[in-house]
Symmetry: C2
């Protein structure tokens, strides 16, 4: 039996999974991401963690097929990270550095893309899928014929920065205006709700909440609160339309919705699909929607898959 | 030395290329597409053509690695055509039927996708590219990491049916409204020009032409005709914006522009890129634009590549 590591480097923690080469997860662990000194300790911390695994499990390096690593930034297909603001990294050849530190083969990809690959392999996805992560921002990952659509600069799947409103004048974090993320992230929905509350005369329980969250909006919409329903409907219109555009381009079998907002479940999917179907082309009207199932483990699964495929 | 066939089945003619397995084109031929009887003779005509090649070149079947075939309709990845209105075909297992007729391995893909693969391999493209064909309609093909993005139902690269105007009420050929094809195909630009001529007071040489063509509009814009410049600018805005959306999704290295309208050359590219750059995300602003170079041979090259990759 051979082994594989799946490593998910995030802004808060680094998650590491140990897998058999048949894809079974044996054990997983987590450590704090040390961002001081421009993130200079992150890779050596991973080496130390790997050496502990070798001792704990009585394994040797030659039993490892490799390590698949997700990082929070764009990655060129040859494994060179194009900068990770969250980690303090500039352009960095993670593949080479980590191969020297670990002594095993390393493959690197963007974290959202790796998570999509994990869902495609062991989660709710399929070999042809688009994952949409609705969290603080909107992330995405595209897997076609079992492979990540990485793109030339590693920007494949950056669907949060599709422009959905050319008339917007409030800028997105990226500096441009009208990105999908500005309306359909957890933050975006809350911002939309503020506009609705200011411009509408409708009575709503949202008016009684001091710090509205995305969860409040979806919960109240489920209970029948009319203003909350209007907000969710606009959310669904914007996201459903954007996904119909993606379907015209890469025609996935399934859209997998993940991230904190996805906890709204089938109600969320219904709100998106209603508008998706109106806008989708031809057979892509039948594309399925599902909620992600691997949660925070999607990244380590995707990392392992990167080596095993 | 082994051999490969590249076959491009179009609504008017079937093109067949004979290649060495190093990718060199040895000879090519063309025959009329017989559409009578629901396109029942097309595949047997191809068999007859292949048998003539075998006799003419003194070759035998066992010297052939296979035939890659492009068809004008969506194709599931296992080679089943999902209907080709132009040929009279309903759902049809072309791979199996043609393998039985030719006695060699067959792979099948959509014609626009095959043309993109041909440009990626031997034309103006690269291993990460999106091809946009501006003809009677707007076609597209996406090649990422040297492979066609086929999609689950074979609709990958159907960029002509991205919705670029949600307020349009004139329907596209597909039945939906506001598709990219309605504005940026050869027909679409001419339709736009009619609206400009009706709504503008500007003097223009376009007013002197009875049956305006896309070429007239680009030619007059190059000469400085203000109204023609306005039309080309709107064309560039619509197409440049749509391509910026595609870049957020699959981040190609290069956009290859083909089809009849592409004869307008660098002037056309400048009109698209100007608007593209305004809307594109991050590093994808630097994505290159180029004119397709293989013309009508792109399909046979792509077919050969499908077998040789």
């Amino acid at each position: 039996m051979k082994y594989v590591l799946g490593i998910d480097i995030g802004g808060t923690s680094v998650k590491i999974g140990l897998f058999y080469d048949n894809g079974e997860l044996i054990d997983k662990g987590e450590m704090k991401t040390r961002k001081e000194d421009g993130g200079a300790h992150i890779l050596s911390d991973i080496r130390d963690f790997f050496e502990e695994i070798l001792v704990d499990k009585s394994l040797t390096r030659d039993l490892f097929l490799g390590a698949g690593v997700g990082v929070p930034g764009p990655v060129k297909s040859e494994g060179i990270v194009q900068g990770c603001v969250n980690l303090g990294w500039d352009i960095k050849d993670i593949k080479q550095e980590l191969e020297e530190l670990l002594g095993i083969e390393v493959k690197v990809a963007n974290d959202a893309n790796i998570a999509a690959l994990g869902e495609a392999w062991k989660g709710s996805g399929s070999n042809n899928m688009v994952m949409v992560t609705l969290g603080t921002g909107v992330g995405g990952g595209i897997v076609i014929d079992s492979r990540i659509v990485n793109g030339f600069d590693g920007l494949g799947g950056e669907i949060g920065h599709m422009t959905v409103n050319r008339k917007e004048d409030t800028p997105c974090n990226c500096g441009r205006c009208g990105c999908l993320e500005q309306y359909t992230s957890a933050t975006g929905i809350v911002n939309m709700s503020k506009k609705y509350l200011a411009n509408s005369q409708k009575d709503s329980k949202l008016r009684e909440i001091e710090n509205i969250t995305a969860k409040d909006i979806f919960d109240l919409a489920k209970e029948g609160d009319e203003l909350a329903i209007d907000i969710v409907d606009e959310f669904g219109d914007i996201l459903g339309f954007a996904l119909s555009q993606i379907a015209s381009i890469c025609n996935p079998e399934v859209f997998v919705i993940g991230g904190g907002v996805s906890k709204a479940g089938e109600f969320l999917i219904d709100s998106i699909r209603k508008h998706y179907v109106k806008n989708a082309f031809h057979k892509s009207k039948e594309t399925q929607f599902t909620i992600a199932s691997l949660g925070n483990d999607a990244g380590i699964y995707g990392g392992a898959r990167l080596i095993l495929q």
